[in-house]
């Protein structure tokens, strides 16, 4: 291969890597990207991130170049491979000081901005206008309560753009971790120990949230969604959520209402005015959510019917039992739940 074609190949490769890196920041292709910051915190984190990546890159290149030079300059051919006494091997104090002090200085450059962010992201006093949301992690779903608004929902959380939000994190069972990549990070949810995560979302949109700490059988199925909304859209959503459930207008939905109140659903679930179970998600506005079952299933009648028939098949270990509903009963219940906008 000629040197020109090698150079061309290297250029292509570099261009490819660069393109891949750029596309890594494209939230449409990578909705869970940590390199698509959409909050103040995420921007701070990313700044530290890039600084460290820069220094890391330099050091890695330095080491690779040194190793490469060693190989090209000092390799022995097999024919000369005879035992012989070692060549001269001087040692230089200056060199050793350099490779001790140099890295120490680099670490200092990294540490100062990094620790500043540590303190900025963990302030003990929240911003006064922060929206407080209580998050309760369960095996394997997320409960969201807005104490100032009387809203109780699950697996999907709505927050207004450009207003600080403070999540207070609780667990009723094991340790989970509350992670919204686009918002700048995660915080563990530890039983007996209320943690908090505060940031100000800056761009409206739908974002992925995940449980990041292994929490048992269906850890992979414990996801959630974050909707950052404009002030107007958020107020609409809030007004709807704060009200009671829609009344079924007739037909299968009304029959489904009867199925709901007479079945075991009421033991674990709450629908304002109907039941007040708290083991499972609050269903008062179930149909307003785009997903369910730890945000792993699209909220469609087909998915819901499949779920009601056999929850464990879709989410291993789910605490919800199969209720043995079949045929019309099942369809009515689905119709009712899907009417709860």
């Amino acid at each position: 291969m000629s040197s020109a074609s090698i150079r061309a190949a290297i250029h292509t490769l570099l261009a490819g890597v660069f393109a891949a890196l750029l596309s890594g920041c494209d939230p449409r292709r990578f909705p869970g990207s940590t390199f698509a910051p959409r909050s103040d915190m995420a921007h701070w984190v990313e700044a530290v991130y890039f600084e460290v990546i820069g220094w890391d890159g330099l050091i890695l290149i330095l080491i690779c170049v040194l190793v490469f030079l060693c190989l090209t300059r000092f390799s022995t051919r097999a024919s000369e491979d005879q035992p012989k006494p070692p060549p001269p091997h001087p040692e230089y104090l200056g060199l050793e000081v350099a490779w001790t002090v140099g890295p120490a200085l680099i670490l200092l450059f990294i540490a100062v901005p990094s620790l500043r962010i540590v303190f900025r992201t963990q302030q003990s006093a929240p911003p006064t206008n922060a929206l407080i949301i209580n998050v309760t992690a369960h095996q394997w779903w997320w409960q969201f309560d807005y104490p100032s608004m009387g809203i109780h929902t699950a697996n999907e959380v709505h927050i207004p753009v450009d207003r600080p939000v403070r999540f207070l994190l609780n667990s009723t069972d094991v340790i989970h971790s509350f992670w919204i990549p686009a918002m700048g990070g995660k915080r563990d949810v530890v039983p007996g120990h209320v943690n908090e995560l505060t940031f100000t979302p800056q761009v409206t949109g739908e974002y992925i949230g995940e449980c990041a700490e292994f929490c048992g059988l269906s850890h992979a199925n414990m996801r959630f969604r974050v909707f950052v909304q404009s002030r107007v859209a958020f107020d609409d959503w809030r007004a709807n959520q704060a009200g009671g459930p829609r009344l079924p207008t007739g037909g299968p939905a009304r029959a489904g209402e009867q199925v709901y109140v007479t079945s075991a659903c009421t033991t674990c679930h709450a629908i304002a005015g109907y039941s007040s179970g708290y083991i499972g998600p609050n269903l008062t506005h179930f149909a307003s959510r785009t997903t369910f079952a730890g945000s792993t299933l699209r909220n469609t009648p087909q998915n819901l019917a499949a779920w009601l028939e056999n929850p464990q098949a879709l989410k291993p270990g789910a605490q919800m039992p199969a209720l043995g509903l079949r045929g019309t009963e099942l369809n009515d219940l689905v119709a009712y739940l899907e009417s709860l906008k």
């Binding site: 990578f30 040692e91 992925i208 449980c211 048992g216 992979a220």
Partner: protein, 812 residues
């Protein structure tokens, strides 16, 4: 040590003779090393298959190849196996065990039968860990088994019990091996082999032994708490009782981070052997390399909470642990640069071991650099528990540790077997594994950065992760293919490989001065060491004329070389311990049998050979003049200190967090315990008197004082039984509250130590009556027991101060 039971010929390899029985009862460090090596190879294959199954599952989104249940078992056992049953034991049991005595010019390790015992305990522990597979109840809570998911309410079934018990048992084996090998390095170095002349491999593993001694006790304590929660209904990790599941994380990472260096330090050591040998230059900056190794070990004990930046420790703790974590990068960087400086200006010989060393340099640097990223708490909040971390630690432990270990395998294989591994297959092995490794793990950086959490059995198809995961799976299979090449290489060269001769690489260290494979006794004449790179200097001359050194030992006739005799007791003791553990878990009926087997085998082993300990010279270290048995006890005491420190720390952390029941303030009987404390302190005095009498060979008085010590110990134990009984009557049980569980556990374990001490003293008294001490130099046994006894008394002084005095002061 006694004379070899059979005639040996000068050049007979350690591998020959004995048959199966010989291997079961062997006490030869080289044979035990080979046993460790084979065992870890089997577990490498098992752990590798687990990894392949996981990669098949993750090759496509929402795959259903493995169930969630099976997948969780797979990743738990893959991690546990690779860490506890492959990388650590291959460094500790195979490389260190085999190479250290050869490099320091010793005929064996300090305690050959203890060495065998360590192996068998490790093996049985490993089998217990994997026994769950038989009933599909393999451990399933991750290799770090975070409480409170591991509590019986969230993890019913035997899965976690197999995990806890297997780790406890194999951990005992690791600590024993570390005690043994540390005593070996301290005390068995050949004349002239000062610390600053030791090969750097020995330096590295010496730091690793120290780390094992100080890091395993917190894990042991954490596992004991977990077992008590599961079996006895205590609440060490239960938030409802005022405790916190975070206690487990602190104990676990206090072990877990040093464990990283326990796995990596042998790799550093191997690098420091391979790089100079194949650059044909002495190691650059030897003293700085040695000190940076020690510094890494020291720092690694102060960084554990960087695994916990996301748990909400607060900004001050986050910052402190971020800074200590970053500090480790400095000595690590020094090592990387020094290896490069060693290569610079050398004559690089591109043999397979050196190729692996080169790969280590690049890959480990990458792992280290991504480690600097999540040493920053803000970045860690994005990276922790994501696939980025999976990529990071595989670069450290596979691209780092495993590549160096593979290099070490190619490097020392001719010493172990007498035959070289094939170079051509070696190169195939090298390139396929390097490419496969990067193909598997580099994409994981990106997966993590694009939001893929760890330990998920499935991921949705719309997150942009599909092709990255497929790439990773392809890489994993390439690595599997590479391991196959290695196995073929081993198989092919086993009989037909090129004969290595004693020194195939133009080696620098003492192991290359003896035949390959070495004879059972290693060195016919204990070598005299006059410089670093001792063997090289012998071949090529000294740079400066060697300074005055002790006169070389007279050449010994082979039949006068004393070698450790074989023993069946190690395997029996290990079986007894395993039986006790399994009985505890499944069939309480066999617990007593197991205990009896353990205790009686241990006592029988102590008196197995009537001439044991007869020659004072054999147990005196040539380099230190200390008795090896005492050095061993000191190492053990170092580890025990950390065990009690963990128990005491837990007591203090949980103090005052009780929700119900009697506490220290209301229940302690300070005057009574002050009296029994005084009795225990007096027993130390009588112990000294006994020791002194035996030293004067006044066995009559020695026996009397021994007897008084036993009685005082029993009085102390009696006081403790009375105290426990009266607390029980006042309503304080093990399950009542945090005070109850921490108090009973801490004081109970101390009591158990006193009880063991009483048994040891009683055995010694019996031996004394039977005239065992008539043989010269056996009083060291009393001295060793006395060291242990005094240590247990000092621990009590600390516990007494923390529990009783603090409460008395608080009242006053």
């Amino acid at each position: 040590m006694v004379a070899l039971p059979k005639e040996i010929t000068v050049e007979e390899s350690y591998l020959e003779g004995g048959g199966l029985w010989g291997w079961l009862t062997t006490t030869d460090h080289k044979r035990i090393g080979v046993l460790y090596g084979l065992t870890t190879l089997v577990f490498l294959l098992i752990g590798g298959i687990e990894a392949l199954l996981m990669r098949i599952q993750l090759a496509r989104p929402d795959n259903t190849f493995l169930s969630a249940h099976l997948y969780n078992e797979m990743f738990t056992m893959h991690g546990t196996t690779m860490i506890f049953l492959v990388v650590m034991p291959v460094g500790l049991g195979f490389f260190a065990n085999f190479i250290v005595p050869l490099q320091i010019g010793a005929r064996d390790v300090a305690f050959p039968r203890l060495n065998a015992l360590s192996y068998w305990i490790f093996l049985f522990g490993a089998l217990v860990l994997n026994a769950g597979w038989l009933a599909n109840v393999a451990p399933n809570a991750g290799w770090f088994g975070y409480a409170n998911l591991t509590e019986s309410y969230y993890s019913p079934g035997l899965n976690i019990d197999f995990w806890t018990l297997g780790l406890l048992i194999s951990g005992v084996g690791s600590v024993m091996a570390a005690v043994n090998l540390l005593a070996t390095v301290i005390n068995m170095r050949a004349p002239g082999m000062t610390f600053m002349r030791m090969p750097l491999f020995v330096w590295s593993v010496m730091v690793m032994f120290v780390l094992i001694l100080v890091a395993f006790p917190p894990l042991t304590v954490g596992l004991i708490f977990l077992m008590m929660d599961r079996f006895f209904g205590t609440h060490f990790y239960r938030a409802v009782a005022g405790a916190t599941p975070l206690l487990w994380q602190h104990l676990f990472w206090l072990f877990g981070h040093p464990e990283v260096y326990i796995m990596v330090l042998p790799a550093f050591g191997i690098m420091s052997e391979i790089v100079p040998t194949f650059s044909r230059k002495p190691l650059y900056g030897y003293p700085v390399m040695a000190y940076s190794t020690a510094l890494i070990g020291f720092l690694s004990y102060g960084v554990w909470a960087h695994h916990m930046f996301a748990v909400g420790m607060g900004p001050v703790a986050d910052s402190a642990f971020a800074l200590t974590s970053m500090l480790i990068a400095i000595p690590t960087g020094i090592k990387i640069f020094s290896w490069i400086a060693t290569m610079w200006g050398g004559d690089l010989k591109m043999k397979t071991p050196f190729l692996f060393a080169l790969a280590f340099l690049i890959q480990f640097t990458m792992g280290g650099l991504s480690g600097v990223m999540h040493a920053q708490p803000p970045i860690d909040l994005q990276q922790t528990d994501s696939y980025f971390v999976v990529a990071h630690f595989h670069y450290v432990l596979f691209g780092g540790a495993a590549f160096a270990l593979l290099g070490g395998l190619y490097y020392w294989w001719p010493k172990v077997t007498g035959r070289l591994l094939d170079e051509r297959l070696g190169r195939w092995n090298f390139w396929t594994i390097v490419i496969g490794f990067n193909l598997t793990f580099f994409p994981m950086h990106i997966m993590g950065a694009e939001g893929m959490p760890r330990r998920v059995y499935r991921y949705p198809g719309d997150m942009g992760l599909n092709s990255l995961n497929m790439l990773s799976t392809i890489g994993a299979f390439l690595m599997a293919f590479s391991v196959l090449i290695l196995l073929i290489n081993i198989y092919k060269t086993r009989r037909r490989g090129a004969v290595a001769g004693p020194d195939p690489w133009d080696g620098r260290t003492l192991e290359w001065s003896i035949p390959s494979p070495p004879p059972a006794y290693n060195f016919k004449n204990i070598p005299l060491v006059r410089a670093r790179d001792a063997f090289w200097r012998e071949k090529y001359g000294y740079e400066q004329p060697p300074t005055a050194a002790p006169a070389p030992a007279a050449a010994q006739a082979v039949e006068h070389i004393h070698m450790p005799p074989p023993s069946l007791y190690p395997i029996l003791i290990a079986a007894g311990i395993t039986m006790t553990g399994i009985g505890f878990m499944l069939w309480p009926r066999i617990v007593v049998t197991g205990l009896v087997l353990t205790v009686f085998s241990a006592i029988a082993m102590a008196f197995e050979y009537p001439e044991a300990g007869a020659e004072s010279e054999a147990s005196i270290g040539p380099a230190t003049g200390l008795d090896t048995r005492k050095v061993g006890i000191w190492c053990f005491i170092g580890s025990e200190s950390l065990f009690f420190a963990s128990l005491i720390a837990t007591y203090m952390i949980y103090k005052g967090r009780d929700l119900v029941g009697p506490t220290a303030e209301t229940i302690l009987n300070v005057p009574l315990t002050t009296t029994t404390t005084f009795v225990l302190l007096m027993s130390s005095l009588t112990m000294v008197l006994a020791q002194d009498a035996y030293r004067r060979t006044d066995r009559t008085w020695g026996l009397r004082w021994l007897f008084v010590t036993i009685v005082l110990g029993l009085i102390f134990l009696g006081g403790q039984v009375y105290e426990f009984a009266s607390f029980y009557h006042e309503g304080l049980t093990l399950q009542t509250n945090l005070f109850g569980e921490t108090f009973y556990t801490m004081v109970g374990f101390h009591g158990a130590h006193v009880a063991i001490g009483v048994i040891v003293l009683a055995v010694l008294a019996g031996a004394s009556l039977a005239g065992w001490f008539k043989v010269r130099n056996r009083d060291v046994a009393v001295e060793a027991a006395a060291l242990y006894w005094h240590f247990v008394d000092i621990v009590w002084v600390v516990i007494f101060s923390v529990v009783y005095l603090m409460r008395a002061i608080a009242k006053a």
